[in-house]
């Protein structure tokens, strides 16, 4: 990586040198599997951060893990050079050119000692049965000769410098007793415990709320400031633009573009990088397509019949005329065993428009969605659908109007019966329609090929599943669709396709959306009006543009400040 030398600083120490790395899975020799990482080269220097950017399956995690010999079971590795701390970790190289890897003992000295790895999935990456003090102390037990009491003191100082409040009382807590942000802090502390020169952080902020995400990024920045090298893996370009010095864009196992972050993100040369950047919804006005028809990755299911995709940027961004409200919540409250989940919420959703609902986990967004859907009865207040009373009340009264209201959830897979084919799933949903549309037309509407009808949910990609779940919501010709984090589990380019699809469907069918997300960029792109939720209350509510331009409530201001933005 071409690192510009900083004035007054001696040439930085190279912690990792990778040249022509290839990694694959399967048996060595004739039956060797194809390379999932192919010809990747980079260096990481002390005190600098290199980000590897790419979508799921691009090989970024495998690349990083092969530095510590943990690419996965059955992995083979070959490279012109693979050096950690100046020494090769390829081990004896076999006749087929693949490194046999270091001995188990040699790897163990590197793991945790020279390279700390913060693995993906912070929420489940600490042993739920062991106190975090032990988990962090393990790294010290394995790499230092400290006594038990010295280890304890060091763990305390690690937690303290990692921004963990009341570290002494946290030592004995298990990860299940900690919030997501605190678990990530503990995990980072355990990776840093034995003072490795390099820290690999694999999607360290992905499952976290934006304010917590900002804190974790600040922590990682301070680690880098202290002279530790940082290898940062992410699919989130906004996060990368904040923390990285250099960036490596990977696609399908290969590097498509690399260089200093300002250059790569500010003036991208490769189409894929451009597509990734364009797919970021933050700040893109409503109605402007995000997906680049030529750059869909993997499953190419760009809607063929979509006029919106054909429309050039800047098309049809004029605000739609206000119509009568189709969904109204009036003074709705809900308490779960003494815990206030939703407090006195009054919202109204105009026909054909999008109401964005934003808030962090536990703020009551999903409870509010369930109340709107008539699945959870509110303690007080009422819900009106299409001008008539909807909830609370008996399900029998609602049943005839159920087709008016659809729902799409984050985890499409678990919302399907895995034994049913797409045809059966949609036929089920079409049964509720007053005038059922042909299945093929419905599939075409969500940009799916007719051939997909015979597939089962498990055989579909994440984007296809979400399209099926949108088709299911669309089948009874609803007026309102409640979308609960519909794109949170998707890669940015797939997310862009789904957001474009939702936008087109809204125009064509005059749908109203209650769009729930923790991602401010997504909500900003999708919403006409916006409601910010905190601790069950709506703290700010108004036209989306007004809220984003001039946030009035301190919490909204904090949220906006914490949201990572692309600033190359």
């Amino acid at each position: 990586m071409s690192a510009e030398p900083r004035p007054g600083v001696p040439a930085p120490e190279v912690l990792v040198r990778v040249e022509g790395l290839r990694v694959g899975f399967g048996r060595r020799g004739a039956r060797r599997g194809p390379a999932v990482v192919d010809g990747v080269s980079f260096t990481v220097e002390a005190g600098r951060a290199l980000a590897i950017v790419g979508e799921s399956g691009s090989g970024k995690s495998v690349t990083a893990r092969s530095l510590v010999g943990l690419a996965g079971p059955g992995a083979w590795t070959s490279a012109r050079a693979l050096e950690v701390g100046g020494a090769s970790v390829l081990g004896p190289v076999g006749a087929d050119g693949a490194g046999r890897g270091l001995s188990a003992a040699a790897w163990r000295r590197i793991r945790g000692g020279e390279v700390g790895l913060v693995v993906q999935d912070a929420l489940v990456s600490l042993d739920p049965l062991r106190p975090i003090g032990r988990e962090i102390g393990d790294a010290l037990r394995l790499h230092t000769r400290l006594s038990a009491s010295e280890r304890r003191a060091r763990v305390l100082s690690l937690l303290d410098s990692g921004g963990m409040p009341e570290p002494a009382s946290r030592l004995h807590q298990r990860s299940g007793e900690l919030s997501g942000g605190l678990r990530q802090r503990a995990l980072i502390a355990s990776a840093l415990a034995a003072s490795p020169r390099l820290l690999i952080a694999d999607e360290p902020t992905t499952a976290l709320d934006s304010t917590v995400q900002a804190q974790i990024l600040a922590l990682l920045e301070s680690v880098r400031e202290a002279g530790t090298g940082l290898l940062f893996i992410s699919h989130d370009l906004a996060v990368v633009s904040r923390i990285a010095d250099d960036v490596l864009v990977m696609r399908a196992g290969r590097v498509v573009e690399s260089g200093p972050v300002a250059q790569v993100l500010g003036d991208p040369q490769h189409d894929y990088t451009k597509a990734l950047l364009r797919a970021v919804p933050t700040g893109v006005p409503r109605g402007v397509p995000l997906a680049w028809p030529g750059a869909g990755s993997g499953a190419r299911t760009a809607p063929a019949s979509a006029p919106a995709v054909a429309a050039a940027r800047g098309a049809s961004t004029a605000p739609r005329p206000e119509t009568a409200p189709v969904l109204e919540l009036d003074g709705v409250s809900k308490t779960f065993g003494g815990r206030l989940a939703v407090v006195d919420v009054t919202l109204s959703l105009a026909g054909g428009s999008t109401l964005g609902l934003v808030g962090e986990s536990g703020s009551g967004k999903t409870t509010l969605a369930r109340i709107a859907l008539g699945l959870t009865p509110p303690d007080t207040g009422s819900v009106r659908l299409d001008g008539r009373h909807w909830a609370p009340g008996s399900e029998r009264d609602r049943r005839s109007r159920r087709p008016l209201l659809g729902a799409v959830y984050q985890d499409a897979l678990s919302s399907f019966d895995p034994r049913l084919t797409v045809r059966q799933i949609l036929a089920d949903a079409l049964r509720g329609a007053s005038a059922p549309r042909p299945l093929a037309e419905l599939l075409d509407d969500v940009g799916l090929a007719p051939s997909i009808a015979e597939a089962r949910p498990l055989e579909l990609s994440g984007g296809q599943r979400q399209r099926v779940s949108i088709a299911r919501a669309l089948a009874p010709s609803p007026r309102v669709i409640v979308l609960d984090e519909p794109v949170s589990a998707l890669d940015v380019s797939i997310q862009a396709q789904i957001l474009d699809l939702l936008d087109r469907l809204q125009r064509e069918h005059g749908l109203a959306y209650l769009f729930i997300s923790h991602d401010l960029g997504v909500v900003q792109h999708m919403s006409d009006t916006l409601a910010v939720m905190k601790d069950g209350r709506i703290v700010e509510h108004g036209r989306s543009s007004a809220v984003f331009d001039r946030p009035a409530h301190p919490y909204t201001q904090a949220l906006l400040a914490a949201a990572p933005r692309l600033h190359p």
């Binding site: 793991r111 945790g112 049965l129």
Partner: protein, 337 residues
């Protein structure tokens, strides 16, 4: 539920557990009491030396009056229940001594057998689970095959084979139980092997789950060695379903003890129970059943407590409790009881 204080919910839990235990004991006593009435024959005959005895009609009438057999059955039942509540298990018809003293003299051998078998089954199951997940497909196939065969083998057949091999052929251990530790080997093996098969199947599943969990990758990334990963992380996760199953296993062991004690001619509750049923010795049968039920209830409570200690997610505090519970529930279908 979460809104109540932890103290309240704990008190409720304890009360529910105690209520459940009392219900189980009452149900066991009642079912046994009426079940034994269904066996044809005269209970007075049983008191006077069993079906083969030549008791006179006067003697039978005297016994009926003495034991209350001439009363309506619900009177007999309520009287019996009344005595039970005061802790009086009654007098054995066939042995003419108090049921409590008979059980007292027999319980030690059975408990020793059950505890040793449970411990051995645990060792075998955990060892097999950890060994068979070391990697190779062969080890996995061998491990799972052994478990299935062991779990499917009936006690009487296994006992016969063990006797044939180790006693008749090799002459290592006695076929008939003797007082020394050598006499315990074959009975304990007979009870432990099938149980180890059951436990092993469940434990291996959770060991495999744990080995693929992200926290194990974290541990490896920290520099933990393979034995360290297994000892510090995987073993405990693997043991959790085994702990949950141990309460059930105890009951299963006692029923196995009936067969095993009979085959190896070992004194104990199992054999006492078998003899008592054959002689229609109602007080003794109910006494043994109640003692076993108490043992079962105590073991179930004990495994509950141990489960909560081993898996803090079950303790009902903190955010992880929900996940712990669903995981626990998800494991229920795996129990092939």
């Amino acid at each position: 539920m979460r809104g109540r204080g932890p103290g309240v919910s704990r008190a409720l839990r304890v009360a529910a557990a105690l209520g459940g235990a009392v219900f189980v004991l009452w149900a066991a006593a009642t079912l046994t009491f009426f079940g034994l009435r269904l066996i044809p024959g005269d209970p007075a005959q049983a008191v006077l030396g069993g079906p083969g005895s030549q008791a006179s009609a006067e003697a039978l009438a005297a016994v009926r009056a003495e034991y209350g057999f001439d009363q309506p059955i619900w009177v007999q039942y309520l009287r019996y229940l009344g005595r039970l509540v005061t802790g009086d298990l009654g007098t054995s018809y066939s042995q003419r001594q108090s049921v409590a003293s008979i059980i007292g003299s027999q319980i030690g051998g059975t408990l020793l057998l059950a505890v040793l078998a449970l411990a051995l089954a645990w060792l075998l199951a955990l060892g097999l689970a950890v060994w068979s997940t070391r990697g190779g497909r062969l080890a996995a196939a061998v491990g799972s095959g052994l478990e299935i065969v062991a779990a499917a083998v009936p006690h009487f057949w296994l006992a016969t084979v063990l006797v044939l091999v180790f006693s008749t052929t090799l002459r290592w251990f006695p076929a008939v139980s003797t007082a020394g530790p050598a006499g315990l080997v074959l009975p304990v093996l007979t009870l432990a092997l099938p149980l180890a098969g059951f436990l092993g199947q469940v434990m291996r599943e959770s060991v495999l789950d744990a080995l693929e969990a992200p926290f194990v990758l974290s541990a490896r990334a920290r520099g933990e060695s393979e034995p360290g990963v297994r000892w510090r992380h995987v073993l405990r996760h693997g043991a959790l379903p085994g702990i949950a199953l141990s309460g059930w296993a105890f009951g299963w062991l006692i029923s196995g003890a009936v067969v095993v004690e009979t085959i190896f001619a070992r004194p104990g509750l199992g054999r006492t129970l078998l003899n008592a049923v054959q002689l229609r010795d109602v007080p003794l049968v109910i006494g043994v059943v109640l003692v076993v039920a108490v043992g079962y209830v105590v073991m179930t409570l004990l495994t509950d407590v141990v489960s909560r200690i081993a898996d803090p997610r079950l303790a009902g505090t903190g955010r992880g409790s929900g996940r712990g519970r669903t995981r626990d529930l998800a494991q229920v279908p795996a129990v092939r009881a």
